[in-house]
Amino acid sequence: MLARFPLALATFKGGFRDRLLLGLFVVSLLLVCTMPIFGSFSMRDVTAAATTFSLSAVSVIGLLLVLLIGSALIPRDIQSRSIYAVATLPISRTRYLLEKFLGVALLLAASLGILGAINGAGIWFMSMSYPPDRPVAWGNYLLYLVFDLEKLLVLASVLVLFSAVATSSLLPMILTLAVYAVGMTTEKVKLFIETAVGAQRISPTIKAVVQFIYYLFPNLSPFDLKVQMIYSLPLDPAALLLTCIYGLGYVVVMLVLASCVFSRRDFI
């Protein structure tokens, strides 16, 4: 199957070559080892405290993976001039871009799979040692991982767009980090300005800017299912479906824009 996408396969294998997954395995083990330490300071719900810590850590590691893997991909090809070799192949620039994205997506999925499995074992161990108030909802955990992956894919698509324009790997990384920060905050700010207090305090101009930012940048808050996982809260299937479609739509738009820019780019 993957043989039909040689560049995606090469990107995926590149991750193995860089010992990325091995590093991730070690980090995951460290994370699991620190879970009981963090949880032990809790007064009442040790498993919830340890899960809070580990889910936040998984999200941080996921973000670092996107930034570290994604930002180097295209600029590295350009800097090492291997892009010229690719240009001679009978594939379009769009396909090159899409395969690169596919390779990153596979790497992220594999990484999150490893991280999720080891972390899941840690949560299971904690819940056996300190039974939480409510049993751990493993379905919620799986959905948390799936939606965290989708969030990372949205960010990866933004990164591909920036990489298609930039000449160095640093700029796309910083810009994507900024998009992540805005994406995680924009919904909170929008909801705040729509409250009675916000309506009094905030000027109409700022409100318009906030609305503009909300619709332009990706809203990453709906992808965050930590609280539902930690406290085994019920999930809203309709909201999940909408989030899934929204994420998919955002990825498609970003990749189309990246393709437009990249096709017109002059490498000489």
Partner: protein, 282 residues
């Protein structure tokens, strides 16, 4: 050789400075460690997707600060602690640790009963499966605020959520009749004792239970003395002289029990805590 010299210089700089730095940090006064006065808006908007972790970390800060300052016999900054509990539970209204900490420390030691009840309403709404929060609010209403009607309502809710704990429904019933406060306190503290993993908090609660059980024991002896002699004792030693008791039990807080004829209650010179113990008996 050069590398070795460089390594030696590096270690010579690193090791003593690390030891000195550790000592300096340790010597910093405890309030300095709780120096961060968070604004909810700032913490909320900058926490990105880590508001739940931040909520837990704020609780840890407050708990460590409290643990440190209690050891030094200083009075904790209860205002800041309340702020931490408030912001922690606004960032994550499900965070039971913060409610638990606030209830264990701020209501008993600082008398911040109304403030904690207000904060715990937040938790009662978000954690409809948890019997502890209505139990805490109900207890506070009865024991501190003397609002038995509200107490009964919350305690009945707690009993409904946890039918296994038999005396919750007993408490709910008792509150309607404004029953004996010492027994209420003992039963309440036993529930809290069973529910926490923190050894430090458990030890504190155990001492309080022992003191209250001693008071209950003495109050019952006073009642027996009154029944048998037809008069109230002048001093607790009258109970020993009258053959009701073999001796007066010691106060686990290090004080001495005495009988207050003005309100017919047994009290202790230790007031059962270093701060705000007035709530225990007055």
């Amino acid at each position: 050789m050069r590398r070795l010299v460089a390594l030696f210089i590096g270690l010579a700089l690193l090791v003593p400075s690390l030891l000195a730095l550790t000592a300096t940090r340790k010597a910093a006064p405890a309030p300095e460690r709780l120096g961060y006065k968070p604004s909810f808006e700032v913490t909320f908007f900058t926490s990105l997707e880590h508001r739940y972790l931040l909520s837990e970390l704020l609780f840890y800060d407050a708990a460590f600060y409290y643990g440190t300052i209690v050891e030094t016999k200083q009075t904790p900054d209860y205002g800041t602690l309340l702020r931490y509990v408030d912001i922690s539970t606004r960032l994550n209204p499900y965070n039971i640790d913060s409610y638990y900490f606030g209830q264990a420390i701020l209501t008993w030691d600082a008398g911040m009963v109304r403030e904690m009840n207000f904060i715990m309403e937040r938790g009662a709404k978000k954690r409809p499966w948890d019997f502890y929060i209505p139990f805490f609010i109900g207890f506070n209403d009865a024991y501190f605020l003397k609002d038995y009607q509200s107490a009964a309502r919350y305690m009945a809710r707690a009993a409904q959520l946890n039918p296994k704990v038999g005396y919750l429904s007993n408490l709910a019933g008792r509150f309607y009749y404004e029953s004996n406060q010492t027994e209420q306190a003992i039963q309440y503290l036993k529930v809290v004792y069973q529910g926490t993993y923190s050894d430090q908090v458990r030890a504190g609660i155990k001492t309080r239970i022992e003191a209250l059980e001693a008071i209950l024991f003495l109050e019952k002896a006073v009642q027996r003395y009154e029944k048998e002699t037809g008069r109230t004792p002048q001093l607790l030693s009258d109970l020993v002289a009258g053959g009701i008791l073999k001796g007066i039990p010691p106060d686990p807080y290090g004080g001495t029990f005495y009988y207050d004829r003005s309100d017919n209650r047994v009290k202790t010179t230790s007031k059962m805590a270093s701060h705000g113990a007035a709530h225990d008996r007055n």
